[in-house]
């Protein structure tokens, strides 16, 4: 053991330094940008600590260049150590960034080629790889070249050191899971021993029979055989259990190991932030960088490509989007511009958004350029979005000379190429005078997710857990009603209800059974999906459906279960869309008698109101029953199934609040939504209505036919 460690150390003395230095450089890079944006004393202290650690470590492994620069870095910062709000002049800030880049270049160079045996690592790389321009760029071409360099650097970076950067916590989890799996082997080993013993017993028994000392009619032989059978049975069960457990643990191991291949989106934020900072400095514009969604994980290759493209996008936002200070002030905007990058997982896609609060795209200039380039027939008006789309379709950037429009076009060309390469889509939302948002959506090949395992009509599938709001147990009657009406009353709202069996095109059992409604939210819409039962939660790695397997939109991806068989992973967006559509169809078809629309019960002591409401509802195609008091309303409610109650508040006898509360308390009626219609408009009354369980509250004074019908359409079963 000692020997091998020793030999590793002699062969590659920098092995551990590379890991440490890489981490320190990452921290220093982020720290410098922190300091630039929000000068705080503890940032200086932190940077000094990192630089000092790096200096020490570099000296140990004789990386003098790195040690020297870390030292210079310290020298710049030391005078500011005791300032409560460190105030670094711009040239010192630039010096820090320069040193940061140099250190970063040296460290990257250490990792790039594996040093050959018996040859010292090259002390000085032939050409230090620059991750960002060392000096403020003066031309578009220079900046673009710097970005190409940065992309290259990042590519090398990712190829060489990704495994070393796997988060320690993830590795710990993986090791735990492996340990757990190993510990499950012990029962198998015990089982092996037991099996050997039983084997010997059987052989002894066989031997005795062979020599005729024992015959099958022998009572003791029968006892032995019975005992053996019993022990074998028990052993079989134990082994089955043990194997099951090992399998589960190994599955966990595999899930975690696959997860390690993925890196968090946040790992590209520092580079983006730096690009924004450099561009802002070059342009002399104060710009703030914001980022969110750092935890979304995806494949390193994908992230690299996107990072390269987004460097252009954020830079474009600063250079072409954010206005000069004077213009911003004149436009009533904050002096400091904002460029925000947001990463989000949407089903099996990742969405990258870059939004700025600048001037937006110059449509007039775009049109001129497009006409000059012959991309647009003069006089033709493609509309604002049409002009923007021209940017995405290329050609704009081929304009001679580096103009404002062409500059933006080049950046968009890169994004478009990346989108094409990754099978994704790019779009631009332009808000003239307010800013622009560039959105890139790419499919994720491997995706680590938490899933809710559900069963429906004998089929097991997985729902993405992050879309699940809650699960509601349903009795057989409730399942039947929800299925028949394609609606489910839930928390004073009626949700579209879609039995999963129907979405999966598998025949559901004919017997109405109890089940579970899984309430899902996606695309700002909420629906309920009916399943037979929940079968647990698991971490899984979802992969895209294979080629040659076109599937319904409710299917998002596929994972591999414990037995090596594919298990479908549902797509929340697809389910929501289908449930919404089925539900609408069910309502639309109502007149066609496939699903008769349920009648509405109107409860009001005023004849005028009753008649008015009836005429509104009937002309909207509903069947209406009337009750002149709360008591009569309750009686009718119990004698017929209604889709909705529409009730007045002030009535002789029981009032509307009581009517609603009583129907809520009756398990047979509780699922029917109720709307209160009253001339009372106070907040207190609305609150009481909500407390009683009313789904909506309509004020008679502001009585609006459309509003009422909107409520009803939203609610009615």
């Amino acid at each position: 053991m000692c020997h091998s460690v020793q030999s590793v150390m002699t062969r590659d003395p920098l092995r551990y330094f590379r890991i440490e230095a890489k981490e320190l450089v990452d921290q220093i890079s982020a720290g410098v940008l922190d300091l630039d944006q929000q000068p705080e004393a503890d940032v200086v202290a932190r940077l000094l600590r990192f630089a000092h650690t790096l200096k020490g470590a570099a000296r140990v492994v004789r990386q003098q260049e790195i040690a020297d620069r870390a030292h210079e870095f310290e020298e710049v910062l030391v005078p500011h150590r005791d300032e409560s709000t460190p105030a670094l002049p711009a040239d010192q800030m630039r010096e820090l960034l320069r040193l940061n880049d140099e250190i970063s270049g040296f460290v990257t160079a250490l990792s790039a080629p594996a040093p050959p045996v018996a040859e010292p690592a090259p002390a000085e790389p032939e050409e230090p790889i620059r991750t960002v321009p060392l000096n403020a760029p003066t031309t578009q071409a220079e900046v673009d070249q710097a970005h190409v360099d940065a992309e290259l650097a990042r590519g090398a970076d990712a190829a060489s050191d990704r495994p070393e950067r796997a988060a320690t916590a993830d590795l710990d989890d993986l090791l735990d899971a492996i340990g757990e799996a190993s510990s499950r082997i012990a029962p198998l080993r015990d089982g092996g021993r037991t099996l050997n013993r039983l084997h010997r017993n059987v052989e002894t028994l066989g031997e005795r029979m062979r020599v005729g000392r024992t015959t099958v009619s022998d009572a003791s032989a029968r006892t032995s055989v019975r005992r053996l059978a019993g022990e074998l049975g028990a052993l079989g069960r134990r082994l089955t259990d043990a194997v099951d457990q090992v399998e589960r643990e190994l599955d966990e191991v595999r899930g975690r190991a696959e997860g390690l291949r993925l890196v968090p989106a946040g790992s590209i934020f520092t580079a983006l932030r730096r690009a924004v900072r450099d561009a802002a400095e070059a342009e002399g514009k104060p710009v703030r960088f914001q980022a969110s969604g750092a935890d979304v994980r995806m494949g390193p290759h994908l992230l690299n490509l996107i990072s390269g493209a987004y460097l252009h996008v954020v830079r474009n936002a600063v250079v072409h989007g954010i206005e000069p200070e004077k213009q911003r002030i004149a436009a009533g905007k904050p002096v400091e511009g904002t460029v925000a990058v947001h990463v989000e997982r949407r089903g099996r896609y990742a969405e990258f958004r870059c939004a700025d609060d600048g001037r937006g795209f110059d449509l007039a200039a775009l049109r001129r350029t497009a006409e000059e380039r012959g991309l647009l027939a003069p006089g033709l008006d493609p509309g604002p979005q049409g002009l923007i789309d021209l940017v995405l379709h290329g050609g704009i950037s081929t304009a001679p000379g580096v103009t404002e429009v062409a500059g933006r076009g080049i950046g968009m060309d890169v994004v478009r190429d990346v989108a094409l390469q990754l099978g994704g889509e790019v779009s631009i939302a332009n808000r003239p005078g307010q800013g622009a948002t560039v959105r890139l959506i790419v499919p994720l090949t491997l995706l680590s997710m938490n899933g809710l395992i559900v069963e429906a009509a004998g089929t097991t599938t997985t729902m993405p857990l992050d879309a699940v709001r809650r699960c509601v147990r349903l009795g057989p009657d409730e399942v039947a009603t929800a299925t028949a009406t394609a609606r489910l009353a839930h928390e004073r709202e009626v949700l579209p209800f879609l039995p999963l069996a129907q979405a999966l095109r598998v025949p559901a059992g004919e017997e109405p059974r109890s089940g579970v409604a899984v309430v899902l939210t996606a695309d700002r819409d909420t629906v309920a999906i009916g399943v037979d039962r929940l079968a647990g939660i698991s971490t899984l790695v979802a992969r895209p459906l294979p080629d040659l397997a076109p599937a319904a939109p409710v299917i998002g991806s596929v994972s591999i279960d414990l037995d090596g068989n594919p298990r479908l992973v549902l797509d929340a967006h697809g389910l929501v869309a289908e449930a919404r559509q089925e539900s609408t169809t069910a309502r639309g078809d109502a007149a066609a008698a496939a699903r008769p629309r349920m009648p509405i019960l109107v409860v009001d002591d005023s004849l005028t109101t009753r008649m008015l409401e009836r005429s509104i509802l009937e002309s909207a195609g509903y069947e209406v029953d009337l009750a002149a008091s709360g008591e009569e309303g309750l009686e009718r409610a119990r004698s017929r199934r209604y889709g909705l109650y529409l009730t007045d508040i002030d009535m002789p006898g029981i009032d509307g609040f009581t009517f609603v509360a009583r129907t809520r308390a009756d398990p047979q009626l509780a699922h029917v939504p109720a709307i209160l219609v009253s001339s009372r408009a106070s907040a207190e009354d609305r609150r009481r209505g909500a407390e009683a369980g009313a789904s909506a509250y309509v004020v008679k004074g502001e009585f609006n036919q459309e509003e009422l019908l909107t409520h009803i359409r939203r609610l009615i079963l």
Partner: protein, 189 residues
Amino acid sequence: MTARSGSVSRRVDQLRDDFDRSFAEPARSHDEEHLELLTVRAGGRPYAIKLSQSSGVHPDRPVTPLPGPLPALLGLAGFAGAVVPVYDLAALLDHPVAEVPRWLVLAAGTPPLGLAFHELDGHVRAAVSDIIRETGQDGEDGGRGRGGTLRGLVDLPGGSRPIIDIPAARALVHALAGHAQATDEENAP
């Protein structure tokens, strides 16, 4: 466990003999004068499949149904961590039956593709001279499937069988699934 059905054990013996013989014979005859064929039944009809066009035959592989636009797509099966779409041969040949196929043959080439059939009759070696109407000409009638999936007939004891051309079946699936056919051609002996 003893011969419940004599025909099965006979067939096993025959398969075993065929298998053993294939080693005993000089290799040249494989390529030159003989074709290795799987004799199968899909949707109740007899067919033959060239072994060289497949990369494996599997019984009773669990197939996860996949709801979607193609009735011929039975679902997905797992093979060593890969997810393979499985199509019903009988449905591809335009005579689907309700019965779920038991066997599946993996088509050679990429992307992965499984073709399911109902029964495996056996594995035979047929002389090239027994193949008639090889690479079926257009205008032929009897039993040609959609997209020219059937190419030729083979005369075997017990009758002649249409030969399912796996690359053609793959091309049909690619067309159904709206997937561009890979440019590299299958190895088609």
